[in-house]
């Protein structure tokens, strides 16, 4: 086996030393892969994500947004706000992201997936004897054929389906994840989706942004922002959402903000 610092290029028998990225750069790449590259367009969906870090220095926050398409016509949406910051939060974000993907692609519904994640959080912290892992989580499974969205909101505020006739708030259906091993504490809801509907969710960095008078922004402006940008692509809408909170709070912004916008594509939805 070759030592890891030597790379053999095709067609050239010379072993060459290549510039090795620094450990910090490599670590940064690994962690950024957890948060994932932008996903602009999936069959039937226009997906936009935006993230704004509250601090100027590079720091991994606890906000994780994931969109995962699997099986025949299913898409899972996850908006997770994990307690804490730094590498610990990044590890927990990775655990939540891939655990939820695994549960969903295995055929578990949204409720069973969140129950399983809740159990995993508790068991993992106990087994590894490490810091506890708490998170608010909005987890949904879109079924393109039935045009439904099944969701569980584990203490996660501020998620909406915005239809041409008005918004529907998708309220919490259970407590935060990782607190208590009680399956009965969680339940799920199902909403019908039509072409032209828009799903939007944010983390609490948005709702808890405060102006100079210490007034919380709250969840309500999310709907207005989306409506005002209805003609734009989902990514532009998501960016408008985080920009609004930054403008509202200015230098007082204390928490990271993540936004997810999914437009049920009027042209291509099944």
């Amino acid at each position: 086996m070759l030592p890891p610092r030597i790379r053999v290029e095709a067609g050239n028998s010379d072993a060459r030393y290549s510039p090795e990225p620094s450990l910090e750069t490599e670590m940064r790449r690994i962690v950024e892969s957890i948060y994932g590259p932008p996903v602009r367009r999936l069959p039937g969906l226009d997906v936009g994500r935006a993230y704004w870090g509250a601090t100027k220095e590079f720091r991994y926050g606890g906000d994780m947004v994931d969109v995962f398409q699997y099986g025949s016509g299913h898409t899972s949406l996850a908006v997770v706000d994990i307690s804490g910051h730094g590498i610990r939060a990044a590890r927990h974000a990775a655990l939540a992201k891939y655990a939820l993907r695994a549960y969903a692609s295995r055929g578990l519904d949204a409720l069973a997936s969140i129950r399983a994640l809740n159990r995993l959080c508790i068991e993992n912290s106990t087994f590894e004897n490490e810091y506890e892992f708490f998170a608010t989580a909005f987890f949904a499974i879109l079924d393109a054929r039935r045009q439904t969205m099944q969701y569980v909101s584990a203490g996660h505020e501020a998620a909406y389906v915005i239809t041409p006739v008005g918004p529907r708030m998708l309220g919490a259906t259970g407590p935060i994840v990782g607190l208590m091993d009680d399956d009965d504490a969680f339940s799920q809801e199902t909403v019908q989706l039509d072409r032209g509907d828009i799903f939007a969710a944010v983390t609490d960095g948005f709702t808890e942004a405060r102006d100079a008078g210490q007034i919380f922004l709250g969840p309500e402006p999310l709907v207005d922002i989306i409506e005002q940008h209805r003609a734009f692509e989902a990514e532009q809408q998501a960016e408008a959402v985080t920009r609004y909170a930054r403008d509202y709070a200015g230098e007082r912004l204390q928490d990271d903000i993540a936004a997810l916008v999914v437009k049920i594509d009027a042209k291509t939805a099944a």
Partner: protein
Amino acid sequence: MSAALYSCGNRLLDALPAVDLSSLEADLTIIDLKAHQSTHSVGGAIKHVDFPIDAVLSVVATLKSGDTIEVGTVGSESFVESDAVLNSALSSRTAFCQVDGRVGRMSIERFEERMATSVAFARFMRQNLRATLFSAQQFTVCNLKHPALQRCARFLAMTADRVGRPQFALSHEFLAIMLGLQPAGVSEAADALEKMGAISYHRSVVTIVDRGILERAACECYRACRDSFAASLILGA
């Protein structure tokens, strides 16, 4: 020579008269609980009553927003679910284990039987329920009026009393959720308590370094609730 009286380690049960204690062992199953393990679910049928020995249980209220706040901490001075004293068939709150340890579990049938047939048992349980109600009311005032530092000190002193040892696992995040505070506020309070010499905090393990300093840092609610439960362990109090 008289036989030694049964003692399970729950101070409420251990305070019962000899006639009640003599038959108590057959009604209790000792259960090991792990942190976060659920014991009662809101709206669920009450199937058993748990008398903590060295476990600490949290009774919590979950709002429609999903926010979950502790409304009661229960240790060896009391029991869960207190609704059982009121003949309620359903739990009005969720309870789960906060600190690993043992509870003595009694089936609801045996609990109700004892409530109906033992005047002393029923009286002790009602006295204890009164202390629980007093504490809940005291916490309402506490949460409105007392700063994070005092509330954290109160919580840590009460938890130490209940586990019966000066060291226990408790993360900042958990404490913040239970007290309805921001994690940063809890971290500041914990740092201040460390600087005062009351506690040390390392990798989510709290050690009570100086009990006196911690009690002085706690608000008056600590002593008020402690005294209320202590009184409930004396028959006729």
